[in-house]
Symmetry: C2
Subunit: 346 residues, 2 copies
């Protein structure tokens, strides 16, 4: 089975997701700047996975910071590393969460000698990775109970092992349901422009032996109307305190369609995806990516020269369209401001 | 300016739409079988345009039928030609409407000598073409009044000059509004898998000088939520007597989203698109096309081998989601079973 990301003595090993599903190529990144570029260029993507990658990037960067000659210069370089990694992608909160956790760990190490600090920070990054996998398994256990036997399940983008440390959030729910003997057929939206559904979700589920059909993003309403879809499960890049959820562009449309057809719409994410500093989704920054993702597919030009292109990478689904938010801490139901608050207090 | 289709002494001239927007290549088809293949392979597409192409194909086929030696053999060959052209694409009613009109014309010619019959049938095909262009201009005149100045207008697929004899239906409304001095910004859904929006609508509007931005099919909800879209205008492949409308896959989703955001959703089509033999959209056959349209983009493979693929080419938008149907006979408002019936009686 593939590995999304792994800490190695030589640096961060990751699967280059841009080449899937046709090529399975691994790269090892030994410089934190390369890790930042890999996150920005979506060699690795998915909110939990970029959190893990950023933590490992911080750990690598600390090695470089340790080569400075004064304590102050080392601390300053460490902060540069954190800021460089944080400047890669604005929407997913896991990135900032993971970097902040690494900062707090670093602060807790006080005046340990530097070799020990570097080793402790590497261990912290590995711990974040391991905890993420365990977190996904808990999400799967909580969520699988919501999926009925003989269901058609729609998912958008990729919230699978490839988007996390391993196992997956939305696909974790689907995997856990399949492991519990439920017969499912998954519809994977292809998820333009980056095609995470067509390339990654289809590949992952096919490897796991879960039946999957790829559809284009404009087809899910048709299959809902025909009664072929009984549930929707998606991931999340950031969840506001009131349950409003930022996720891959197109998630909001699927949520509106699910509500129209009275189909349950589930968000599955680590509890750390909830950003309690955001009272609603209105304040969540939406990344606009390079128009070339829309205008070209690899080298093939799709659009005429000179026309406008818009490329928001995420949208916000308002809380009233969400049936439940499945986290490692448990399942939150509306009103989310209360249910998420209760889970937070646990 | 480009020509979508034209009758020439050598056969049917048409622009190969598969190569747009990068190449503008015309072909001349002198055999009705080539015309059928061009329709099936979407060298030409769009409900009114395939009606025109089929009529011209019938006219060409009659030349071949005329070479038979008996009146009976000629009539039988003519019927073969009609059936061959009718078997190309099942959803758009204009195809069957145009072929039936050619059949009726042929029957009306009685025992005229064959050279005269061939000439009369060619004139009939040219008349269908000319009437379609005039029809689109009337649709534009009726529809432009519904579009406010300073509007963002979303359209899906291509219902422009390229989808008709010329001028366009949904894009005819947009063109007419622009020609009336209204300042518009058009959002063109790229329209996977065939990319009619990204390739054709963007190219057409850019040539006309109407500002246009291409978005992927999963973005329209986001821009509606942000208040950037004030109206939706789409074409139609077949409209049932109650107003239910079959159109390019994804149209239904846009209609649900427009209703959710209280944005008017307009269908623009020749009145001949209304199929009064269908009481509702439930009976409209939905074409399923080759999975390769989803799995590959030109030579680039997008999906892993071995996964399921679904590729319905159309969906049905229920009448309650449609604000008005704009036809050459006038604008129909709900309840459509009455308003379309009144226009039918004119």
């Amino acid at each position: 089975m593939f590995k999304t990301i792994e800490w190695t003595p030589d640096g961060v090993l990751m699967l280059d997701q841009r080449l899937l599903p046709l090529e399975e190529v691994y790269v090892t990144l030994a410089d934190y700047r390369e890790v930042a570029t890999a996150i920005r260029d979506m060699l690795i993507r998915g909110a939990p996975a970029i959190g893990v990658a950023a933590a490992m990037g911080v750990a690598i960067g600390l090695r470089e910071a340790a080569r400075e000659t004064t304590e102050e210069a080392r601390a300053a370089r460490f902060e540069d590393v954190c800021q460089h990694l944080a400047a890669t992608r604005p929407t997913a909160v896991n990135l900032f969460w993971a970097i902040d956790r690494m900062r707090r760990k670093f602060a807790s190490l006080g005046r340990l000698d530097w070799a020990e600090r570097v080793a402790a920070m590497e261990q912290e990054a590995v711990a974040i990775h391991q905890e993420d996998v365990e977190c996904c398994r808990r999400i799967g256990r909580h969520g699988q109970a919501l999926i009925a036997d003989n269901s058609g399940v729609l998912t958008h983008c990729n919230a699978g092992a490839l988007a996390t440390g391993g196992y997956g959030t939305a696909l974790g729910v689907i995997r856990a349901a399949a492991e519990n003997g439920k017969r499912l057929h998954v519809f994977a939206d292809e998820t333009r422009p980056y095609l995470q559904g067509a390339r990654l979700t289809a590949w992952e589920l096919h490897q796991l032996g879960v039946p999957v059909s790829v559809i284009t993003d404009n087809m899910s309403g048709h299959f809902m109307a025909r009664g072929e879809i009984q549930a929707v499960v998606v991931g999340a890049d950031r969840i506001a305190a009131n349950g409003d959820t930022a996720n891959k562009i197109g998630t909001f449309m699927v949520a509106v369609l699910a509500a129209y057809h009275h189909i349950p719409f589930y968000v599955a994410a680590p509890f750390s995806t909830v950003d309690f500093t955001m009272s609603s989704g209105r304040g969540i920054p939406i990344e606009e990516r390079n128009p070339r993702e829309v205008t070209h597919l690899r080298e093939t030009q799709l659009t005429p020269d000179g026309v406008g292109i818009r490329n928001p990478a995420f949208d916000v689904t308002p809380n009233h369209l969400i049936t439940a938010i499945i986290t490692d801490q448990g399942v939150a139901r509306p009103p989310f401001v209360e249910s998420l608050g209760r889970l937070h207090a646990l």
